[in-house]
């Protein structure tokens, strides 16, 4: 047998145990098709407009749903709603993490936009956290060059 035991090499100091560590990033570069309903919502954002759609019970759902939650039929009756509304619930984030949409302290908020019956999640940035309360009025702050993503709404701001 011409097998060398590496233990011998280690005794001779040729090989030492090492602590090996390496950072790496695995990326899945997906392109997702939106379908007509989400596509309508995102196209609206690109034009600084927010669209919902009307369910079989008459409620306006924002963001729009593809199928009615009661009848399971496709929903096509799109309705433009306001880019301002009311905080329904919220959670203050004092120490944002890298994956968060804001680098500065912010509030996750459920916002019922004027004209909508279902509230939508987004975030509020303010230097007056005590004013983030249920019932507070907020308005979208749009980025200058919208591309058709939810982040076209930079954040919501408290109305005066």
């Amino acid at each position: 047998m011409s097998i060398l035991l590496v233990q011998f090499l280690r005794v001779e100091g040729l090989v030492e145990d090492l602590f090996l560590q390496k950072e790496y990033e695995l990326g899945f570069t997906y392109t997702r098709s939106t379908g007509p309903v989400v596509g309508k919502f995102l196209t609206g954002l690109k034009n600084k407009k927010i669209f919902g759609n009307r369910g079989s019970d008459g409620r306006v759902i924002v963001p729009p749903m593809e199928y009615d939650p009661e009848t399971f039929q496709p929903l096509n009756d799109f309705v433009q709603v306001s880019d301002a509304g009311m905080i329904e619930s919220w959670c203050w984030v004092a120490e944002p993490r890298p994956a968060h949409p804001s680098a500065v302290p912010f509030a996750w908020v459920m916002i019922k936009l004027d004209g909508a019956d279902i509230s939508m999640i987004h975030h509020v940035v303010t230097d007056e956290p005590s004013r983030v309360v249920t019932g507070a009025r907020v308005k979208a702050s749009w980025i200058d060059q919208p591309v058709g993503l939810i982040s076209d709404i930079r954040y919501f701001v408290l109305e005066k």
């Binding site: 047998m1 560590q21 390496k22 695995l26 690109k46 034009n47 407009k49 058709g148």
Partner: protein
Amino acid sequence: MGDTNKETIDSIEAPIYLKYNFTAGLAPARFLSHLKKGILTGQRCPKCDNVYVPPRGSCPACGVATETEVVLGNKATVQSFTIVSIPIPGNPIEPPFIVANLVPDGANTSFIHLMSECVNEEVRIGQRVTAVWKPEEEWGFAMDNIRYFKPLDEPDIPVELIGHLSVNGEEG
């Protein structure tokens, strides 16, 4: 409902990036530090004598730790292979190229590596190959210190003997 004045969106870029901090662990760290020195090693199971490459530190069949390291040769046998004809995003290698499961002499398991300097259509199971290393100054803690494997002018190994050769390439 005012119609949109910009093109309708039907798809969005939605990449997902996973950030890892990989710790090699004891057995792979030794394996990689040997590779850094141009040595391919495996680990032998004290119970069943199987030699694993790359070593994970234990024998999955016997459930015991593997601590004895074995220096393997540069020669290996093709256990299986595939001809890759479709370009892979981010991969600098031009298709068509060969990815093969190779069993180095002295080991009982295979690892995946590239084959080159070969006629793709003539690659076959049982074919003998040898490692082509990068220049020593380019060696890192990585399997791609071996650039690829190229065919050897040696007789093919019968399928039943693949994974059962000693480090000198003989049945054992």
